[in-house]
Symmetry: C2
Subunit: 316 residues, 2 copies
Amino acid sequence: MEIISLHRIKEILAKSNPETLLAAIEEGFVLYADGKVVVPPVGHLAFTDPPGDVHIKYGRIEGDEYYVIKIASGFYDNPKQGLPPGNGMMMVFSAKTGEPLAILHDEGVLTDIRTAIAGAVVAKYMAPSNVKCIGIVGTGVQARLQLAYLNSITPCREVMVWGRSLEKGEAMAADPDLSEFNISVTTDMAALAERCNLIVTTTASRKALLMAGQVRPGTHITAMGADASGKQELDPALFAKADIVVADSIDQCVDHGDIYHAVKSGELALEKILALGDVIQHAQRRRTSDAQITIADLTGVAIQDIQIAKGVYIAR
Amino acid sequence: MEIISLHRIKEILAKSNPETLLAAIEEGFVLYADGKVVVPPVGHLAFTDPPGDVHIKYGRIEGDEYYVIKIASGFYDNPKQGLPPGNGMMMVFSAKTGEPLAILHDEGVLTDIRTAIAGAVVAKYMAPSNVKCIGIVGTGVQARLQLAYLNSITPCREVMVWGRSLEKGEAMAADPDLSEFNISVTTDMAALAERCNLIVTTTASRKALLMAGQVRPGTHITAMGADASGKQELDPALFAKADIVVADSIDQCVDHGDIYHAVKSGELALEKILALGDVIQHAQRRRTSDAQITIADLTGVAIQDIQIAKGVYIAR
């Protein structure tokens, strides 16, 4: 059993081709949509003193060499002690003998990266052919990673970032990892929606931030902030305007994604929702004109964890 | 995060006082019976080619410093490749920050030991005051460990082992780890039940091995083989003869222990079943005469994993 530290994981990621991980996660979504991934219910332990949550996500692709277990924790008072709230690891086992092969002690970083890669996969298949300006809603770790992973997907280098404060937006604009992009900053969502036709929302908002009236024809929106009950980033009416609506997991998005709010309010019929894996496989289910509005709702599925853990393990 | 190998775990166990682990597991059963242990449903992944099972057991004591996750696998074709069927690890985390503290890569050994210690705890509280002869049903790893851990519980050194073949029984009798005991071997269950008043059944049997008519007054029986649906070691009629019936987990034993068969056949009323933790705490629920027949059904509960993992971590 091999232990792979966060430092070593970062080295492995730096020297590996991002296309390989993107292809692995893309393949994962296809297998998931085709019912070839076994994903049991998520395990959960809740703590109150201090407050915390632990989630155990695990699964396997039918017939694969490996299975993966992820343990992820969030202890919200950790910053008071100078510790990050999140921690975690992904574990790779042999599906032929049960032997543990590697523990990737990623401290939660691989979850951030697999989430950003899902955004890149969506943009590859759903963005309009000519991206004029990328709009990023939010200024945190995931906002930055989503933008970084769009680098290889679109030649567009014009970016507008929306933040609750200009300071946070400006801090993101100054991030050396994003130096290839020309980033402007705004606190005005209408201005972002006016200018950008590929918008990624990455906040922990609990009410709609991007309104139906703000979005112009020809825009694609990836909403990845609403990953638990109570969270919301998109105006439900936006789903009624959309030509194509895609979910990473239809069940999860209907349960607690932005799609939940749209279905509940009657703006979105269940039959309209397509699985991301189906859109990757079938070109005819994708955008047919650059005037269409499309939305992808991402809640995060264990197949992403399986694929990134295997990817890092194989590339080590 | 510290990795503790099986070799190191064995060293820690060898130098630690067995009483300390016994006391920890005893305390665990009491806390469990008192509803102070959080044990979510067991996670499970099933494999068919080759056949295998992975179980994820986890939980915590309310207010404790630690939580524990156990991953245990059984891949039944492993011996064809010269590998043991079982593998696994126990992981100790901080319940205050979520940080992983240690991975005990015990390869399943700590599960065997915590199971044997539960047998010793039961004997401490339920065996007749004068054990004339210990009867062990089965000749495998758990048969040997159950006997080894009875060493500190009773001064009795007379042992009769039942095996399907005399060869396996004789191999167990020759085990140097059991050299303190005078072990005789039989294939006749009636002979064992005639002579022994503390009987431990440890087989993977799928039908009753020990019959009601064979057991004499004053006998205590610990049945720990039936840990999954379909397994059975005791004649259901034995439960009707018993004065006291105890379960490590009432829910689990009713679901898939030997108690399941006795409840189903009408030989045992649900109200008669006591929790092991209650019997440990309340002397008045224990044997009141050396003529009584008592039974303990053990299916294995996550609190045992929690306590042994913490015990080894603290003693390291």
